[in-house]
């Protein structure tokens, strides 16, 4: 087990290097620091001197891969690649265009992101499984048919509309909860309720439909027929056998997104003014702050790979037939 995890961690390194090289290519080779400077300065102020000054101010005035003017190992280290890309492996993200330390921002913003994403994940999972089980219990009846149709209808509504409708009706018209904002601790609860509610509702359609197919696949198996044949009630079959075995694909599928919860949701956080990583990312994209975007890309892929490893471990944990070697 330990050896397996270690090997998977080692396997993750080339992938992170790939991500790193890809983002480096995108942000520095295809789109040179000169272009960045031009974009930031605006069309009116572009002069060669202004571009040089911007690059010096933001630390982009170094050669890309090889610094021929330096000596010794500095030839490799005093370059954009080493300082901007390779440094990420040590989680040194540098500073954003606003001069703030990116690593610091990530640490402070992780909390608010999790405060939304974690309840959404847990409550969403419970709600979706409940609906899916209900549909499976009434399978092949009109209740099931219309349940599926309702799921498709809910799926067909853009996530933006759930947020807009939630904010408009619940917060503005009925004044039940604040429209947006965030506060730490127990006072923050009222700010969290609406985004969590909206995100859970937005996920019901696709979630319950997906879990319904998983349960239906499970219910057609031989052991379920045996369970019924020995006289177990349908409820018992559903909860003791189908739910338990259906949870294997559901939970292992959920594990992969678990680390990504740290990243928060771009849209939800931006609409509700949550100072999390999602709104940080969206602000960076809108301000075209490339260093922040790069840092988030790296962090995102790192968390995704952690999620993959956790998935493998959880497989062997919930299903004893799977052995990790």
């Amino acid at each position: 087990m330990f050896a397996y995890v270690l090997r998977r961690l080692l396997y993750a390194i080339p992938i992170l290097i790939g991500v790193n090289l890809l983002t480096f290519a995108l942000f520095f080779v295809v789109n040179t620091p000169d272009d960045m400077a031009r974009l930031q300065l605006g069309a009116k102020h572009v002069t060669p001197e202004a571009i040089e000054r911007w690059k010096v101010e933001h630390g982009y005035d170094k050669p890309l891969l090889l610094n021929t003017r330096a000596t010794g190992s500095a030839q490799l280290t005093d370059t954009l690649f080493f300082q901007r890309s390779a440094a990420m492996f040590a989680f040194q993200f540098g500073k954003g265009d606003d001069g703030r330390d990116i690593g610091n921002e990530i640490r402070t913003r992780m909390g608010p992101s999790l405060a939304i994403a974690l309840p959404v994940f847990v409550i969403g999972l419970l709600v979706n499984i409940t609906f899916a089980l209900l549909m499976v219990f009434f399978r092949a009846t009109y209740l099931d048919l219309w349940g599926v149709v309702l799921c498709v209808v809910l799926m067909s509504i853009s996530g933006l509309f759930y947020i807009i409708a939630g904010q408009y009706f619940i917060a503005k018209l009925w004044n039940l909860l604040p429209i947006s904002g965030y506060a730490g601790g127990i006072h923050g609860l009222k700010f969290i309720l609406l985004p969590v509610l909206v995100s859970v509702v937005a996920g019901i359609g696709s979630g319950s439909r997906w879990y319904r197919t998983i349960f239906l696949e499970e219910i057609g198996k031989d052991y379920v027929r045996t369970a019924r044949a020995k006289g177990l009630s349908e409820i018992r079959v559903l909860f003791r056998h189908v739910l338990k075995n259906g949870m294997i694909p559901i939970l292992t599928g959920a594990v992969v997104v678990l680390p990504l919860l740290f990243m928060g949701s771009l849209i939800t956080e931006s609409f509700f003014g949550i100072p999390g990583l999602g709104s940080y990312t969206i602000d960076a994209i809108q301000a075209q702050d490339f260093s922040v975007v790069r840092a988030m890309v790296f962090l995102g892929s790192f968390l995704y790979i952690v999620g993959l490893i956790l998935t493998d471990i959880s497989y062997s944990w919930v299903d004893p037939r799977v052995r990790l070697q």
């Binding site: 080339p14 992938i15 790939g18 991500v19 890809l22 983002t23 995108l26 942000f27 295809v30 789109n31 272009d35 960045m36 031009r38 974009l39 498709v152 209808v153 799926m155 067909s156 509504i157 853009s158 996530g159 933006l160 509309f161 807009i164 904010q167 408009y168 503005k172 239906l216 696949e217 057609g220 990504l260 990243m263 771009l266 849209i267 990312t281 969206i282 994209i285 809108q286 075209q288 490339f290 975007v293 790069r294 988030m296 890309v297 995102g300 892929s301 995704y304 790979i305």
Partner: protein, 473 residues
């Protein structure tokens, strides 16, 4: 020598060319499928499903509007000399020409759906005195002399539209009944009772009901749109119905052209990884794990920012604003395609891994059949249903993604008509008093209709093509 000058010059945008290429390929595919019984069978199964057929009809209307909106041209300027014609920088489409008044009747600013007055009060001269009141619209309800004619006029238009829609539907239904009864050598009464009881062999009732509803809706809208702004007007006074209809093309382009980019990548790499295994598999798996591990929105955002920089750096490449917006739309499709081929490739890899061990593939290899031929004859046809299911399932997701990306600011060009831009522009107007809701409402209705139809159709296709589902029943 005098040149032959016309009143317009056709414009072929990049996406237009690709759309029509796609259309030709689809028509060729239809022709091919019709000639082969084993390919026809699953489609016949789709055609037997009421939900799928109803959805297909709605999709067909959207596609027709999108295609009309893809035939672009530029009008000749009236004052340009005949021997050296100059053309307007505005790129129009056949749809614009058909929409006519819808496009040109621009008000001053916001006005509510079917309103005859502007949304905001203005100072106007009335009987010598200046009063602050809601001014009448320039076009919306301009044919009414008195305000009290408004109610009866709306009712009259709705009724006329209703009757026209019903008449059109009855006419179509009659023609359909006559044609099919003749074709099947049935008596008309027999056909009608088979239709009413749902024993036609195809979902006749659903088709007729959906057609009738669409005809009535279309006729009522057309009647109302002739005198009013059905969905109101936006901030600069443009008709919201027109904007929503124009957005259809953008949604369709994103939903289809993205797949066009995805497919070759996913098919070639997925099958190659599964079939050849070894180092090919390792390399391809590595590439898609790397791409997959980057959060999708961020990768798209990064690539779009870069394209934006490139477009801004070369303004001389584009002669019109439409061409510029079009290249950005195409770039968005390519980027979304390049970032989204991984899931299908993984699916195809798994399936090819299974297929390559089957006896008939082993036999082909033992006979010395080349790899290319084995893949094209034995592997590809057996994974094609997965490709097709992925195409139809991805479509709705892509249409929804456009709205989100446009909100983030990395979607289509801000000047382009799209539902995402409509939502983005209207979102803050909900804070106004009274609320400006109609832009959001229109974007919602159109997007929801398209995505719902696409989802229902995709379900039908999946049920008909997925052999695993067949076994379960």
């Amino acid at each position: 020598m005098s040149l032959v000058t016309s009143h317009f010059v056709p414009v072929l945008l990049w996406t237009d060319a690709l759309i029509f290429m796609l259309l030709i390929v689809s028509l060729a595919a239809v022709w091919w499928i019709r000639r082969h019984a084993h390919l026809r069978a699953p489609w016949a199964a789709v055609a037997r499903r009421p939900m799928a057929m109803g959805a297909a009809l709605v999709l067909a209307v959207f596609v027709a509007i999108g295609l009309l909106d893809s035939l672009h041209y530029r009008e000749r300027l009236d004052d340009s000399p005949p021997d050296r014609p100059q053309y307007s920088v505005e790129v129009l489409s056949v749809f614009d020409a058909l929409a006519g008044r819808l496009r040109t009747q621009q008000e001053k600013t916001y006005s509510a759906p079917l309103a005859m007055h502007l949304y905001a009060k203005e100072f106007t001269e009335r009987g010598g005195a200046t009063v602050r009141d809601y001014p009448r619209l320039k076009y919306g309800g301009a044919h009414l002399k008195q305000a009290d004619e408004y109610g009866p006029d709306i009712v009259r238009r709705i009724l006329v539209g209703l009757l026209q829609g019903l008449a059109g539907s009855l006419l179509l239904f009659g023609l359909l009944a006559a044609w099919q009864a003749r074709h099947e050598r049935m008596r008309l009464g027999g056909w009608l009772s088979a239709w009413a009881t749902g024993h036609l062999g195809w979902p006749g009732r659903t088709v007729v009901i959906v057609l009738t509803l669409m005809l009535i809706l279309g006729a009522v809208m057309a009647r109302l749109a002739a005198g009013y702004h059905v969905f109101g007007t936006d901030k600069v006074g443009q008709d919201v119905l027109y904007i929503s209809l124009k957005s259809i093309r953008t949604g369709l382009v994103i939903g289809t052209l993205t797949t066009l980019v995805t497919l070759p990548l996913a098919i070639v790499l997925g099958i190659a990884a599964g079939y050849f295994r070894g180092w090919v598999d390792d390399v391809i798996q590595y590439v898609y794990t790397v791409l997959n591990s980057i959060p999708g929105v961020l990768l798209i955002a990064a690539a779009v920012l870069i394209v934006q920089v490139a477009i801004e750096a070369h303004p001389d490449l584009f002669d019109t604003a439409a061409a510029r917006a079009d290249v950005r739309l195409l770039a968005l499709c390519v980027i979304m395609g390049v970032t989204s081929w991984t899931s299908l490739a993984r699916l195809l890899r798994g399936e090819s891994l299974k297929l390559r061990t089957l006896d008939y593939v082993e036999a082909a290899r033992a006979f010395g059949v080349s790899h290319a031929r084995i893949i094209s004859r034995h592997i590809f046809p057996n994974v094609f249903h997965l490709v097709l299911i992925a195409i139809v399932l991805d479509f709705s997701g892509l249409v929804l993604a456009e709205a989100v990306l446009s909100y983030v600011g990395v979607g289509v060009d801000p000047a382009m008509y799209s539902w995402g831009n409509m939502i983005n522009g209207a979102r803050l107007e909900l804070a106004r008093e009274p609320v400006v809701w109609w832009q959001l409402g229109a974007a919602f209705v159109f997007m929801f209709t398209l995505v719902l139809a696409a989802n229902l159709f995709a379900d039908g296709v999946r049920d008909a093509f997925d052999p695993r589902l067949e076994e379960r029943r």
